[in-house]
């Protein structure tokens, strides 16, 4: 597995790959939001007859564990099983607002489409998604903007809880400043298939109200991520 290396704004041109062979494709992913974080990102090149997720369809258990808790374990296992090329660093820290990660890999013959996923924090089951984007064969630099999706696997109650799949509430890693005492925005997820995320509601009450997220910070408008693909 290759590694996505986090880059600072000041050294945006310096990136590294953990592998030394000649590279085909460089992928840079930037968090465009002002107040949201991404869990470690998986960029996967795979065949056209497979997909990590599809809008309008039920999320797989592997997408669910990524979207609810940020785990890439299931997705990377699947990627290996289908001989996909994977660019990911599951143990990396969060990708903060406007930060970027970059990495380079060589895609095998037949792995002609690219998918990208990572959980959005704070959220119950929000994730950034790119689904089966055809990697251009012509050398050049290409830009794709990503929307925020809702896995449809958990109610967006917006209260601190669990990141384990099937358990309610949002994971609350220490780098997030979240409220407490929220009563819960909702207890249901009306659309249980993958869909465009309706956004966080939040509130302005750090110790009560309906939500544990802050409405003037933890909201977003699409797009939420910029993917720059350089075909070498």
């Amino acid at each position: 597995m290759n590694k996505l290396t986090k880059i600072c704004a000041a050294s945006a041109l310096a990136f590294a790959s953990s592998q030394s062979f000649a590279a085909d494709v460089t992928i840079k992913i930037q968090n465009l939001t002002q107040g949201m974080y991404f869990t470690p990102i998986a960029a996967v090149a795979h065949t056209t007859d497979t997909s990590l997720f599809e809008v309008g369809e039920e999320a797989s258990p592997e997408i669910q564990e990524m979207a609810e808790g940020g785990s890439l374990a299931g997705l990377t296992t699947i990627a290996t099983a289908i001989s996909a090329d994977v660019l990911a660093e599951p143990t990396a820290g969060p990708l903060g607002p406007t930060e970027s990660v970059s990495g380079t890999f060589t895609t095998a013959d037949g792995n002609t489409v690219l998918s990208v996923v990572a959980m959005i924090l704070p959220s119950n089951d929000g994730f950034i998604g790119l689904d089966n984007w055809t990697i251009p064969t012509e050398a050049g630099t290409y830009t794709v903007y990503l929307n925020a999706y809702d896995a449809g696997t958990e109610a967006n109650d917006e209260i601190v809880g669990s990141g384990a799949p099937g358990m309610p509430g949002m994971p609350a890693p220490p780098f997030l400043t979240l409220g407490t005492g929220g009563s819960g925005v909702t207890a249901v997820s009306s659309n249980t298939n993958v869909h465009i995320h309706p956004g966080n509601i939040g509130d302005d009450d750090a110790s009560g109200g309906a939500s544990d997220v802050t409405n003037s910070i933890h909201r977003w408008l699409n797009p939420v991520a910029k993917v720059t693909v350089t075909v070498n």
Binding site: Q30, T33, Q34, G35, P97, D204, N215, S216, R219, P223
Partner: protein, 245 residues
């Protein structure tokens, strides 16, 4: 308009090396190199400058966010704004107060919109530069019923634009990161508040990002003077660029 013929003096310095062979009666041969500098004054004509002009049409797609007079800037390189970067003071002045003079001054050529562009309205702004066909075009305008939200276009490469070519895109809303999105009374210059515009003190993240949207009092921000009328989504403006000469 008549362009004055300019005389440029061209100074030609010719270094001429003349090997001269002197033969003496003795067996010695002496080679002397003589340098002669010839200075020629040449009157050179400078061709008339050629105007390269663009029309930029900005359309306001929001419900109730007037746009401050748009800055249309042609520049050689660099960026007017970039997500993740620290904004310039000129950008901050535009994003917090709608003042575009600082941004206009950054260009090789630039033009300002005549006034605010109301919701649903549009304005076509012409900008002309001489002899340069590979400039970068940037556009910036504030959503005035916000603390520091702006929209626009950063560094569109014009080098492939031929006369008559046109390009249209929609643009999202950015947050300058220089003023916290309090939405409180007295902090926003637009008609919804009539409050303060530019303030030199930076009170937010300090870098440009995509804007999270306004919350408003109707959506749970108790101290906001904005209402549901002021909400916006991406995209917020449409920008059409046409090269007309």
């Amino acid at each position: 308009m008549m362009n004055p013929l300019k005389l440029n003096k061209m100074r030609l310095a010719l270094i001429v090396a003349l090997p001269v062979l002197f033969s003496a009666c003795s067996d010695d041969e002496v080679e002397v190199i003589k340098e002669v500098e010839v200075i020629v004054e040449v009157p050179a004509t400078v061709p008339d400058p050629v105007d390269v002009s663009y029309e930029v049409t900005v359309t306001n797609l929001t419900n109730s966010q007037p746009l401050s007079p748009a800055a249309v800037v042609l520049h050689a390189d660099g960026h007017l704004f970039s997500v993740g970067e620290v904004p310039s003071v000129a950008l901050e002045q535009m994003a917090e107060g709608g003042m575009n003079s600082g941004l206009l001054a950054l260009g090789m050529a630039s033009a300002s919109g005549a006034g605010a562009i109301g919701p649903g309205g549009s304005e076509t702004i012409s900008v002309t530069i001489q002899d340069v066909t590979n400039a970068k075009l940037s556009v910036a305008t504030m959503l005035v019923n916000t603390n520091d939200a702006f929209s626009g276009l950063d560094a569109l490469d014009l080098s492939t634009f031929a006369v008559g070519d046109s390009w249209t895109a929609t643009a999202g809303v950015y947050d300058a990161g220089t003023e916290v999105n309090s939405e409180t009374a007295g902090t926003m210059p637009g008609p919804a508040d009539g409050g303060e515009g530019f303030n030199t003190t930076r009170t937010d993240t300090g870098y440009v990002a995509m804007h999270p949207g306004v919350v408003t009092v109707d959506d749970g921000l108790s101290n906001s003077v904005l209402t549901v009328q002021h909400k916006f989504d991406n995209p917020a403006v449409r920008i059409m660029v046409t090269r007309i000469e």
